[in-house]
Every structure is written in structure tokens, then in C-alpha cells.
Amino acid sequence: MAIDFLLISRPDNTGWPLFLSQALASLGTLEVVSESDAARRIAQYQCKAVVIIDAAVIEDVLALITRLRRQCPKTCIVVATASPTWQRARDAFQAGAVDYIRRSWDSKELLNTMKEILNVSLSQEE
């Protein structure tokens, strides 16, 4: 079994997305999509992919979460940011994100954080 991850970022942004892809390799595969292409790709995954929003390159994160939440009410949406603040974290959760994480360069930290998020979601399914 494997998880499909969709990272909404700039497709030419090869730094952190590539790192994230490698960090999450043991859990599944990660595809990078642009904001404009996100809705179509999420629909192709039938709302079953875990969506990660790269806040560093998205202009209006809250509007994007709201749009995605409307498109797929149950999709797991995670916001990743290089400069987390408590206000933006609160806004993201209230818009419908299930987590708000630091855009870490520590692969172990990223993997553990994602496992925690998936663990919570899996527990709900039981």
C-alpha cells in the first residue's frame, strides 16, 4: 500500500519538493503540481491524494484551502511553510487544513510529522 501525495508548488521549484519527495518515499509517491493545475489533478486522484500546500510559493493560501475543501470536503490538506506564525496557523486550520507544518529540511522530522498526520487519519477510519 502507498499514499499519493500532491504538492502544490511551482513545478520548476526543484529544491524542497525534491527533498520532500525523497523524505516521503517510504510512504508513497509525491507529484508536484502548479496551483492552476491543482484542481484538475486532485479530481484525477478522486480526492484521495494527500494534498500539501507549499505556502512559500502560493499567493493566497487560505483561498486555495477553501477552494480545495469545497472541491473535496474530506481530503487531507496540509500546509507547509518556511516561516510559521501562530496567526497563519490558526487561519489555515480554520480554513480547513488538517495540519500546518514547518517546511523542514530534516527528512526524519518530515517523515515523522507526516506519519503522525496519517496515524490520526487512520485511527478515525477504524
Partner: protein, 215 residues
Amino acid sequence: MPKATILFADNDPDFLKTRAEFLEQEGYLVIPAANPTEARRKLETGRIDLAILDIRLVNDKDDHDTSGLTLAKEVARTVPKIILTGFPSYKYVREALAPQVDGLPAAVDFLDKQEGPEALLRAIQKALSAPRVAQAVDIAARIKPEEGGDEIQALGDRARTQRKLWLLMGAFASLVLAAGTGIGAVISGDPRLLLGTFLLAFLMVVCIIIWNFME
């Protein structure tokens, strides 16, 4: 008649008094709590519509004190809670607002004390009007059968294994106690001990049956 009953937990008596007076003027019944023990007791026993919890309920100077968050996670899970703190951080927000294993976040809102009483009032009105529904995330459906996903399966199995272990320990404890009371009943001939033996044996059987169904 008050609009709602609100438990307000804060270890700063002046802040607690000021905010309680403000909320009472707005028509709410405020039940104060000055420490985690008092807040826990009132949350567990009282009819509380909403709880407002400070994060550092023991010592404001101790950044390891997250007793308010612990309360929010552990006690009266169906009561909506607002976390109110003088030391906001995104990590605290994550702990407060990210869904827990039951699908509900520990709190429905998170406020900085510096945001003032009007922001608190708005948060209360919003919390009381919103349905407390678990945010079900359809994770199982997003798992596709492929090779090499053992870790995911292991994550899902962990919670079930823990529950099964508890049931097994319960059955074993019941067996030991039933044996003890049984021996006591035979020696003393006391019918109450005999009844206790039967009840414990019954409990053991119930644990085993539930354990079996979880296979």
C-alpha cells in the same frame, strides 16, 4: 436565564475576574477555575457548554507548562474549548486545532490574550453556534494496494493492538481476582465472595469475547 454556561480556567486571578465579569455582562454564566485540578473536576462533573482554557494553568513562567492543552485533549471531549494564552506559538496552535485520533481537535479556537475581550466574545459566539462534528478525513480510501507500504499498515494496526493488549490485561486481572475470591469463598463460605467470583469470571469472559471480535 444565561445564554450558556462557560468554564473559564486561568491561574491569573485578576485576568480571570475581569474576563468573567465581562462575559457575565454579556449574558453568560461563568464558572471560574484557578488551576488544572479544579478545571478538570468542573469539566467532568458540571454542565458546561463551552470551556475557555489558559495554556499555562500552573506556572506562567514555565514554558513546559501546557496543562491547559492537556485538559483540552483529555477531558470532556465533546465540550467545545477555546485556548487562550499570553504565549501564542504555531506549535501550540497545532496542538490545539489539529484533529486528534477521535477526529476532533482539542479546541475549536485559539486566541492570544492580547486580542482583547471583543475577540473572545466573537470566538465564543462562533464556537457555540458551530456544530461539533468530527472532521473525518478519508485516508483509507486514499491508500492504494501496492507493494512496499508496510509502514502505513503498521500505523493503522498500532491503535488496535494497544486496545487488544488492554483487554487481554483486563481478562488476566479478572482471572487472578476471580481465583482469589473463589479460594476465599471456599475457605470462608461467604456467599458475597462467591458472587464476586462469578462477577469477575463474567468480566473475564466479556473481555475475551470482545478481544476475539477484534481479531
